[in-house]
Amino acid sequence: MTKDIKISIRNLFKIFGPDPDVALEYVRRGMNKADLLEQQNHVLGLRDINVDMRDGEITVIMGLSGSGKSTLIRHLNRLIEPTAGEIRVDGEDVLSYTEEQLRQLRRERMSMVFQKFALLPHKTVLENAGMAKAIRGYTTSDFEADARKWLARVGLEGNENQYPHQLSGGMQQRVGIARALVSDAPIMLMDEAFSALDPLIRSDMQDLLLELQEELHKTIVFITHDLDEALKLADHLVILKDGEVVQQGDPQDILLNPGDPYIVDFISDINRARVLRVRSVMKPGTDSGEDFAGDISERDNLETVLERSGGDTDLAFRVVRDGRQVGSLHMKDLTKALVPTAAATESHQRV
């Protein structure tokens, strides 16, 4: 990991209520969320969050509703003010920003995509896409070419002069993404951006996002409650529960080595073959002694490999990156990796 840290969150606390500073003391002394609500009548939003988000990566923050993920993402552009802690973007302390600097940050360095799209209903698709530029004082003719380009890129060519209510949900969210892209901001905040869409369209949109990321290398912070989505998109996965980070790291790592019963529960009913990738279960090295049945890419998921093997557990494959061998994968290892973690930690849970 040589990429620069783009956004860094340190010791972030957020408490909702009339007197958060007093409540903060109780939380620092270890009071939990339920007690805080009952005894102090304050809601614990976030507790001691430390996350580094790297330049050009997709950081996914995952948690169930009420886990504080939407609160967390709103701290990054200060739509919500923290109770305590530090947020640095490009090394600068966002919390010390003046109103003008903050506006600058929101206009030029961060864009946001919302769960409910939040498009302006009285503006056309084109004007919506160019909203960030219009706010900065550009006229429609200034940003029209840009907006058209990105709208075409997200698949909305020909819809420029329609109004948002004339589009389907999926298309509206495409406008939302185009709006974020037209702003040219290096950081994209996506708050449950695909949660309101139906599964097929959601999967399309995920592919679109990955495709765009391939080419643009933005720093994306993505919020979701859907583990499959998180595993599909994440370079770095942060799992939140009740306002605390339960585990963070490479999603494949988390899947293979869950650090908490909560996560085990979470990952117990996902399709491991589809999520796990060759690189996380292969044996590294250029060992060529075995008789390989074929070449596979390190980024293939296990499902594709299974399909190629036809279910034969005696086969082994050569793993290649850019045409050179980086490791090997025996089907037996693959099968082992597919054993659900719940079974693997059974002895652990019996104690």
């Binding site: 552009n77 739509l79 903050l102 506006r103 600058q104 940050l105 929101r106 206009r107 030029e108 961060m110 864009s111 946001m112 919302f114 769960q115 409910k116 799209f117 939040a118 498009l119 302006l120 209903p121 009285h122 909203m131 960030a132 219009a134 706010i135 900065r136 109004y163 948002p164 209510h165 702003s183 905040l189």
Partner: protein
Amino acid sequence: MATYDSLFSSLGLEEWCSQGKSDAPMSMEALLAKTKGGNTEPESIWDAPFPSMDALNESCAAFPQSRELTKGLEQGFLAIKDSLSLILDPLTQPLSWFLDSALYAMLNTPWWIVIPLLLAVVYLVTKSWKLMAFVGGSIILLAFIDHYDYAMQTLAIIFVCAFLCVLLGVPIGIAMARSNTLQRLIIPVLDMLQTLPPFVYLIPLIFLFSVTESKLYGIAIILYAIVPVIRLTNLGIRLVDKDVIEAADAFGMTPRQKLYKVQIPLALPNIMAGVNQTIMMSLAMVVIASLVSAPGLGVLVLRGIRNLELGVGLVSGLGIVILAVILDRVTKASLARINASQKQ
């Protein structure tokens, strides 16, 4: 012997009470009782009157009667009247000018200019030929039965007053939407303006301004009709989708950009509903305001009542109905046009 004598004697206030004995004028009730011949039988508890100001006054002459209250209010008002009109007079003078010039313009422009102009405006805001034909037919009908001048006077007053209501009401509504404190302060005032019987507005205004001035009825109409546009502007801005506001913030809009590019456009359907209500209430008030010399169809209604001229009253009433239907349909059609472009 009155019921509450003992109350004052027990409080040791007899001396204070007796001071007031001579100067209080006798009430009609007391006078009647006197002529009947005083009934001195002790009263039972069943007949005890409520200890109102008048009842207490019977026991203690120094205690004020309730008519002192209305009298005091009147005198208080008369005392501040001069200084009040000194401030209000110049402040409201433009209203007189607006009304007078609108009336003058409406009546001195030939009908063959005014009617097409009105129809053009109708088409411009509604984009409906059907509605325009309806409005044209209605105005021609009114003109044919020689009510053209009256109808145009009423319309001129409504235009001026409704315009000023919007001009003042929308900013007040926006300010209310931004501050909860201000909302708490203004809502009781709006409630009062809305529930106060319209005739009651007129009484203090008659004292403050001369009846010959057109601002007298202008103020009454504006006070009565401004309420819905304030309320609905406030409501409309408060109801703007929170997500869109958040998006506006997230993309770095200044408060001013947010107001003009998001809040007002999205609140427009509600604001326009308020404008519709305001126009309808202006029409209601302009009829009542004919009591204080507002010209227009209301004058005819008043004549119908005063002289019991049934036909005059009915025809002018019908004229008012026609105007109401025109104004309502036209504003609603333009409202529908705004709504159509704002669906979500």
